[in-house]
């Protein structure tokens, strides 16, 4: 059993097994310098990136939120960039963690919702149609 260490009362960063990117970089300096996600893919985490991503996701951020996200994304992506260091050249990716294949259904009609049920959860409806926001042509 490992020697119990005295732990501080307050919450600390749960695991120091996760070294900071700085520590990792220092460690590997003597070996080869492994590039980060930012370096290999020229990812610049700035307001423009945050705004682009938010737009793709149909989210409108306030200026304060945008600034906050820039900082947080930088920290998160830095920490995540070590994933790209794991050698995976001849590794196949898995759709699911357990082997699952060949589940299909037969071409048989099953009962549908009554129209009222389909429309029950919305106020935006008209004459059995759902009503949506206008299309821009």
């Amino acid at each position: 059993m490992p020697t119990p260490r005295r732990a501080p009362e307050q919450l600390k960063q749960p695991s120091t097994r996760q070294q900071t990117p700085q520590q990792t970089r220092q460690q590997t300096q003597t070996q080869q310098e492994a590039p980060t996600l930012q370096q290999t893919h020229k990812i610049i985490v700035d307001e423009q990136l945050i705004t682009t991503v938010a737009r793709n996701a149909r989210l409108a951020l306030t200026p304060a939120e945008t600034k906050r996200f820039v900082v947080q994304f930088k920290e998160i992506l830095d920490a995540f960039s070590k994933v790209s260091k794991v050698p995976t050249n001849d590794v196949a990716l898995m759709i699911h963690p357990v082997p699952l294949k060949n589940v299909m259904r037969q071409d048989i009609v099953k009962p549908s919702f009554p129209v009222e049920t389909a429309l029950a959860n919305t106020q935006h409806k008209k004459d059995n149609y759902f009503k949506g926001p206008r299309i821009v042509s």
Binding site: A92, P114, Y129, F130, K131, R134, S137
Partner: protein, 497 residues
């Protein structure tokens, strides 16, 4: 283990080298005629009764899956794989060993989940081709399976007016219907060729029995560019039906040419088609800025496309139109045009094949392709409604072949047969419709007609050919068509000399 090795991305047309005046590529979406939808058990079509009563209520064929309600999950319809494989084989594609699905993410009111389940990494079919009647092969880049979005009803009628409307109406009956997407290489060089391609494709779909011509829809996007502009591409999106696709292509080629001629510099753009006004218009579409952010759809599992399945499908494949046309022209000496008409409709081709086993193929070809089709059209019958079969046709044609009846009589028999089937042979015997082969009898009647129509005879002798036809007509009437017009003609001319 369900492992996947992602394949290289498929063809990007920007790297092709073009030389023709016009370059067209097509992306065609075909609704597959299954009973239930791609990922749920909702019906793809209203019932016959509902259709007759005009009762396809919007959103009446929906469930939590095709409405994209949270918690619902898709399950794949096995029939779709069978149909799609048939199409891939008919288009000479290489078949993927596994069927896997991806999510194509974008936001639009017709998309129940704001992503479409489609195939991205590995389409079911790839690197195929379709041969045009001219012999030219149009390449098929890919054939894949995906789900149809919902249908949008724009107040004001169509997309061109949509921006002025304040809202849109959405019907999810269509959401989740299985589609096959067929993407051609950009090797079609004019709208006529595109038409030929589409005609060929529709015959293939018809033969495979995977597309409901009456009730289902084909939509296409087309990429069009012209040499004059340096091949700057326009994409015309979401055109419904082959007729409209052809119209749109003709229009767009003309528009681009006019634009360049008037000094305009073309840009890469996306356009819609207005069928009422007959023109394309620029759109700001859902896709112009989208990054689809493809991921695998992990609610679905990979399906093995096994050798056993492929063998079974190949076994079920019908002989396709091209093979039939070759067979008819080579083996039976039928003209290419007649062979094409016969092969265009599967039931007609099958009828021909059965009949031509017992009766002269050329006779059979003429009668089926012209006479039968004529009376069917007159009676507004389709091949699905046809009451007679090869036994009736064989009997009828046999009577002609043996000269028991004239072609004229045969035509009248066919007109009756189509409405209510009967045995031609028995009927002829009963009604005494046998051809008049006794020339003496014909001569006697000709003399009667000459005697009854002296002024007409005078007209003929003055040089009026039409009078001869009148006299022959009278003979035909008197013989109730049992005389052969050719023989009457000869005898009459002889008598009038």
């Amino acid at each position: 283990m369900a492992k996947i090795v992602p394949m290289a991305k498929t063809v990007n047309t920007a790297t092709e080298i073009f030389t023709s005046d016009v370059v067209i590529g097509l992306e065609i979406h075909v609704q597959l005629d299954t009973e239930s939808k791609l990922f749920c058990g909702c019906a793809t079509q209203p019932t016959k009764k509902q259709r007759e009563q005009g009762q396809d209520v919007p959103n009446s064929r929906t469930c939590e899956v095709c409405l994209g309600m949270p918690g619902s999950k898709p399950v794949f319809n096995e029939k779709v794989l069978q149909y799609a494989l048939k199409l891939c084989l008919a288009l000479n594609c290489a078949i993927a060993p596994e069927l896997i699905f991806s999510r194509k993410s974008y936001f639009y009111p017709d998309l129940a989940k704001n992503y479409q389940i489609t195939q991205y990494e590995k389409p079911l079919g790839s690197n195929g081709f379709l041969t045009l009647p001219t012999g030219k092969k149009v390449g098929i880049t890919r054939v894949h399976i995906e789900e149809d979005p919902a249908s949008l009803v724009h107040p004001g009628g169509n997309l061109a007016n949509a921006s002025s409307a304040s809202s849109v109406l959405i019907d999810y009956n269509r959401s989740g219907i299985p589609l096959c997407e067929i993407v051609t290489t950009p090797t079609i060089t004019n709208p006529e060729e595109a038409r030929a391609f589409m005609n060929k494709l529709i015959i293939i779909l018809h033969y495979l029995g995977i597309f409901d011509e009456k009730n289902s829809v084909i939509k296409a996007d087309a990429n069009i560019s012209i040499k004059k502009s340096g091949y700057i591409r326009s994409e015309v999106k979401n055109v419904t039906g082959f007729k409209e696709i052809e119209r749109a292509l003709f229009y767009e080629v003309g528009r681009q040419q006019k634009a360049v001629d008037s000094g305009e510099r073309l840009v890469l753009d996306t356009r819609g088609w207005d069928p009422n006004k007959g023109l394309t218009f620029r759109m700001r579409t859902k896709e112009t800025e989208a990054d689809y952010g493809y991921i695998l759809d992990t609610d679905l599992v990979a399906i093995d496309v096994t050798q056993d399945l492929l063998t079974q499908i190949k076994h079920e494949m019908p002989e396709l139109a091209d093979a039939k046309i070759a067979k008819y022209t080579d083996q039976h000496g039928i003209s290419k045009l007649d062979a094409e008409v016969l092969a265009q409709e599967k039931k007609l081709a099958e009828l021909f094949e059965k009949v031509s086993k017992k009766v002269d193929p050329l006779l059979a070809a003429k009668w089926l392709r012209r006479e039968l089709v004529r009376v069917m059209n007159y009676n507004k019958q389709t091949f699905d409604d046809l009451l007679i079969d090869e036994t009736h046709m064989i009997e009828l044609l046999d009577l002609i072949e043996k000269k028991v009846i004239t072609e004229h009589v045969a035509q009248r028999l066919l007109e009756q047969l189509i409405v209510k089937p009967f045995s031609p042979k028995a009927y002829v015997q009963k009604q005494g419709l046998g051809a008049l082969s006794d020339n003496k009898q014909i001569e006697k009647i000709c003399k009667e007609v000459i005697a009854e129509n002296p002024s007409v005879v005078q007209d003929y002798k003055k040089g009026n050919e039409k009078s001869l036809h009148f006299l022959i007509g009278q003979v035909m009437r008197k013989t109730q068509g049992k005389a052969t017009p050719k023989e009457v003609n000869e005898i009459m001319k002889k008598l009038l000399k």
